[in-house]
Amino acid sequence: MTLHDHLPALAVVVPLMAAPVIVALRRPTAAWAVAVAVSWACLAISGQLLQSVLANGPFSYLLGGWAAPWGIEYRVDPVDAFVLVIVSAIAAVVSLYAKTSVAKEIDPDRQYLFYAMYVLCLCGLLGMAITGDAFNVFVFLEISSLSTYVLVALGRDRRALTAAFRYLVLGTVGATFYVIGIGLAYMMTGTLNMADMAERLPAVAHTSTVRAALAFLVVGIGLKMAAFPLHLWLPNAYAHAPSVATAFLAGTATKVSVYVLLRIVLGVFGGTGLLTALPLMELLMAMALAGMFVGSAVAIWQPDLKRALAYSSVAQIGYILLGIAFLSETGLAAAIVHLFNHAIMKTALFLALGAIVFRLGSARIEDIAGIGRRMPLTMAAVLVAGLSLIGVPLTVGFVSKWYLVEAAIGAGLWPVAVAILLSSLLAVAYVWRIVEAAWFAKPSDKALAATEAPTALIVPTWAMAGAAVWFGVDATGTMGVARAAAAALLKGVAP
């Protein structure tokens, strides 16, 4: 076997082994260097995986050499390869940004722990995305969750502690719901391997146990992905976490949960016919629409920009959920491409906010007044990513919106199509509030004292903002992958 054959395992094992190495090393700079190396290695591995899955079709990797369903199997198909690339790409860019920001926001003697948590979180997220075993998802979910709680709690404001605690409680409830759901499904099928389970579920699809299992899985995953109205943990967690943690989590954590939802609901339960027999898609659509409007509307009134963008995430998750709820190839492709697109623009925004916090010590709307002239590069990145959030053409947000609307029209759901467009107008309101404050307001005292952020923060921020334009101008690549992924997912869904 060549190294290439082991890539699926390495994608997870490399960050996993990096964590103890970081703890053993302890020196902040060394810890950071390891985190950067690992993130970029994961990106390289994920890129390779995506390339080979697109070229040669799905393949699996048997951990411990045990055949599925007896052992644990890694199954790489276009969907999870794409998610792997998203997560590791965000991690790679954010890792470069981390050194300067972490040095300012975290105690020196805790920095190595921060980086250890960072790679563990990455490891957990990648593990969830690549595995083909339903229980293994739970294990890696917990790795990522526990590390996330700590990352959030390391924020400077004391409210970070309560935010982390609430996240811990709700996250654990969500994970336990997931375990209940998997337990019930396991009980009726006798297997934990997702592919095997998908094969065996249709025979028992009529039982109440399987229906209850589906319900628990949807609620459990819904909690982790912060789908409205299960989003209560998210705004505070994002608002008070350290800048680096917020940027990383906003780009990755909820995305991977969405992936798990896709994998479980469509991949595993798709063949049971329950998706159409139960009003599940209608429920998801209602949650999505409510999230889109409530999230955006609340975002308009937030005095703290990190919170505003956190609520915007709730709305954006609504878009993703909506795409799934159409249960059509275009809709799914829209949802999947929006996973990528939203990850890029939200990371860009939170990185830029991190740069603002770096200089001002705050990201409140009254403090950023007039900052546009003091930190032109940072604020230009905010503007570009903000336009993308609105869905202005030539940015990634437009691509997502386009396909969502197309899917809504394809499904004949005209009011939904209008709702998508209307809700994007709410984004204009909260983005433009920032624009007006930054460029057209009288500078605050804090802004007057500020200068442009250090290059080490600007470059990663602009890497993301640039990507938001790049993949918005030429979306053929991302849409191609998203379509392939959507087709692969829909293959198993019973009509």
Binding site: A9, A19, P20, L63
Partner: protein, 144 residues
């Protein structure tokens, strides 16, 4: 607790037996109930008992923070390392059968090593969690 010699002597006598039991659990897990995880917890329990009776300072001297951290890290690395060795030996990650000429021997070696890794990690992690909690000054107030 300085005035309770019986407790101290009793504890000193008890601890070796606890450690022995932990080792038994560690290595007998293949045949009966037990394994690295339970052994690690029991091993940690011995130190917790020691700390409770002889005080945190003594316990910390017996098991310094740096050592705990290294054991903890080493445990994880050992487990994952076995997997990597399996990879290098031509199998998949965590394939123990390739560790030796006969698959079952390989499995034995692999399971022994990963259980050891689990034991080390759990022991050090549990001890660390306890020590950190116990070292916290109950009257401490942080101001933000």
């Amino acid at each position: 607790m300085r005035e309770k010699p019986i407790l101290r002597v009793g504890t000193k006598l008890l601890i070796p037996f606890i450690l022995l039991f932990a080792l038994y659990v560690q290595f007998h897990g293949d045949f009966g109930p037990g394994g690295g995880f339970q052994a690690g917890v029991i091993f940690a329990a011995a130190f917790i008992l020691y700390a409770l009776v002889f005080g945190m300072a003594n316990a910390r001297a017996a098991l310094p923070a740096g050592l705990r951290r290294q054991i903890m890290a080493l445990g994880v690395l050992l487990y994952a390392g076995v997997g990597v060795v399996g990879m290098l030996a031509g199998g998949n990650f965590l394939d123990y059968s390739v560790l030796s000429d006969t698959p079952t021997t390989g499995q034995h070696i692999g399971i022994f090593l990963v259980e050891l890794g689990v034991g080390m990690n759990v022991f050090a992690a549990m001890a660390t969690i306890f020590f950190v909690f116990a070292s916290r000054d109950p009257s401490a107030k942080e101001d933000g």
